[in-house]
């Protein structure tokens, strides 16, 4: 029996590439994990909303005497492992098919959430992932005055699905600086800000110094 969840590789793909460019199929299974049918699937993204939807309804063919139709998975097929399963969704009810029939997914909406996500960040998580995009992190005070900027790279782990900064961040803060939040993003003509992270407290520097972010991990 499956449960609704994002797989570890689904998390990795989310941070590394985004889902819309990667997901190629949806598979329907019984509660005993027997494949019922497989169909092509395309995810589309609504810009600015952090939402992904199916480009078109999916119709599964179900053979007669199939019982306990239970859940669907989405993913794509590659080398090793052959199938990369991103996400499993358990249907609200089980279905028995005494005769041949169909099961249709008429709509499927995915919503990306997170306290510190900005609209551009949601967009890139859906379509591109973050690890290949992010190049900088910037520290600000509560009046949105830039205190310092540093380079930043993230990597995602295939083993855990967690995205982490590849090195500590060390901001150089001038006397009187009061670090309130940091943002990360990349520059594409202009700065594209993906994420705005408030600090747990305001770090006030009565003399010039450094603010070090030892580790930064983002999970799904």
């Amino acid at each position: 029996m499956a449960t609704t969840a994002v797989s570890t590789l689904g998390k990795y793909e989310f941070f590394r590439y985004g889902w819309t460019a990667r997901i190629a199929w949806v598979k329907l299974y019984t509660d005993a994990d027997v494949l019922v049918d497989q169909q092509a699937m395309t995810l589309e993204h609504t810009v600015g909303m952090g939402e992904m939807t199916m480009a078109a309804p999916v119709v599964f063919d179900v053979a007669a005497e199939t019982t306990d139709v239970s859940y669907v998975t989405i993913g794509y097929t590659t080398g090793t492992p052959l199938d990369i399963v991103f996400y499993t969704k358990t249907l609200a009810e089980l279905y028995d098919f005494p005769t041949e029939g169909t099961l249709t997914i008429s709509s499927w909406e995915f919503t990306v959430g997170g306290t510190y996500l900005l609209p551009a960040g949601r967009d890139d998580l859906c379509d591109n992932g973050w690890t290949s995009l992010v190049t900088w992190v910037k520290c600000y005070n509560s009046s949105d005055v830039l205190l310092n900027s540093q380079s930043l790279t993230f990597s995602a782990s295939t083993g855990t699905g967690i995205m982490s900064a590849t090195a500590p961040i060390v901001f150089e803060i001038a006397t009187g600086g009061a670090a309130y939040y940091m943002t990360f993003g990349y520059t594409d003509g202009t700065d594209v800000v993906l994420y705005k992270r408030l600090y747990a407290t305001t770090y006030t520097f009565t003399t010039a110094g450094r603010l070090t972010i030892g580790t930064w991990t983002i999970t799904l």
Partner: protein
């Protein structure tokens, strides 16, 4: 120097799926599964069933 040793943040994906069947008969899941599934269901007409899975509320 001030050191913030660890920043850990969380993102999420929720999904709502709508399913209809032809030729199939729905049946409830065993209670031990329903207890944790956080799912609602509704019927839209006599012949076809439309099931909406709602994401967990914060």
């Amino acid at each position: 120097m001030i050191k913030d040793n660890g920043v850990t943040d969380v993102t999420s994906i929720d999904s709502i799926i709508t399913v209809s069947v032809v030729g199939g008969v729905a049946k409830p899941r065993p209670s031990k599964e329903v207890k944790n599934s956080n799912l609602d269901s509704s019927l839209d007409n006599k012949d076809n069933k439309s099931i909406v899975d709602k994401p967990r509320k914060a």
